[in-house]
Amino acid sequence: MDFLRPASWEEALAAKAEHPTAVPIAGGTDVMVEINFDHRRPEYLLDLTRIGDLYEWEAGEHSVRLGASVPYTRIMENLRTELPGLALASHTVASPQIRNRGGVGGNLGTASPAGDAHPALLAAGAEVEAESVRGTRRIPIDAFYTGVKRNALAADELIRAVHINKADGPQQFSKVGTRNAMVIAVCAFGLALHPETRTVRTGIGSAAPTPIRATAAEEFLNAALDEDGLWDSGRIITPSVAKQFAELCAAACNPIDDVRGTARYRRHAVGVMARRTLMWTWESYRGNARTMEGAA
């Protein structure tokens, strides 16, 4: 095994081009487990921890450019306003020790359906900034996950950053596990209200071969909110609409039975989380709307 230690992003890209089988390592919270257990013996480890740029973030007008290696701890502490869904999801990652090392770039690189960041990225809307010596491209998050632990990256590409849309409304994240810390999601759900476009977006984790959106449920809810004029009136969402949204989210799942839970349980739990996160975010939206009415 060779340990490649690029001092700059350009050097890292050159190393990845020269050794396409090189395994990038930053926080190490996925890669080192595989090496410790002898599940993986990469020919080259490509250490990205010397590249300071990957640990920085920048909030623009409409989106946050989040460096691939920004640890979850930093996201929780610094980006709660801009990226509330991702900040909530970050707080559910493993333990303080893991959150101090791991970041979204690793979650995307591993592309496990159970990665905690994915539902939040799908719900907020995001693009992955991938780069190689051939150039840079932005991969929409909906096109990024291509299979179980597979993603759209080419062999010579590295993830440099993720561009995540800044919240324009309430966001929530919910995760089912046997305890609060150190839990791989049995299933997870992210929801974001986007009042500017009058749309709702979702993200489902651990309940299909890849992280997915419940697009049929989103379309149903967008139409229902529009039809009843709820974005303007700020009235409650009726139980029947919430119920159908939950059922459509459950129906979007394509889960398996495994040690963490059964497919039936996952479908059921996703429906419950969908209904709850919708209620939480909508109540928050209504509260804000009322506050603004009072101020006007």
Binding site: R5, I98, R101
Partner: protein
């Protein structure tokens, strides 16, 4: 490969390190510092917790090469680290030899036969663990000490929720969590009295 880094305030060098080796392995097997424990090797248990440039991490998940040029504090250096934090005079760190000869005696007993270095006394948190009866089999203790000490550094007046959160990545299979909570509360209270 060779790894150069600072361990417990002293520059150290490890040779013949395999590229896929963890920092934990280097500390235990190459430097002879067995304080950081090896249990799950997958970041689940926290027994290998060390400070990496000040930040608590699972040393089993840090590749040895990633520690190059970095500063590590292990449980063996905790007493000296706490002493420096409290404004101790000279900052010369803890040598490997001192760390290897460390034994868990309270302050005041260090003069016995000169077997324990003056620097290798207990950090206030370690004394609190003893006083509160927070050590059973002791395997999880080093990780808990490093994690709790870092929390008390950041947050001198933690709530119970803060303590639980900070220690949520450290498993104790003797299930002595209540005593551990007592020990951290005790250390925080003593820290407050001194301040």
């Amino acid at each position: 490969m060779r790894v150069n880094f600072t361990v417990n305030g002293r520059p150290q060098q490890a040779d013949d390190v395999w590229e896929g080796e963890s920092l934990l392995y280097v500390l235990r097997e190459r430097l002879g510092l067995p304080g950081s424990k090896n249990a799950c090797e997958q970041g689940e248990c926290g027994s290998c917790t060390v400070r990496l440039d000040g930040v608590p991490v699972c040393s089993c998940l840090v590749a040895a090469g990633q520690a190059e040029g970095r500063e590590i504090v292990t449980v063996e250096g905790l007493a000296e680290h706490a002493r420096q934090r409290a404004g101790g005079e000279d900052a010369c760190g803890t040598s490997l030899d001192e760390a290897r000869r460390w034994s868990p005696r309270g302050p005041g007993s260090q003069s016995d036969e000169g077997s324990t270095s003056p620097r290798a006394t207990l950090a206030p948190l370690q004394q609190a663990f003893i006083d509160a009866g927070a050590v059973q089999c002791g395997f999880c203790t080093p990780g808990l000490l490093v994690a709790a000490d870092e929390m008390l550094e950041r947050n001198p007046n933690p709530t119970d929720a803060d303590i639980r959160e900070a220690l949520s990545g450290n498993l104790c299979r003797c299930t002595g969590y209540e005593k551990i909570m007592d020990a951290v509360r005790l250390a925080a209270a003593r820290q407050g009295e001194e301040a």
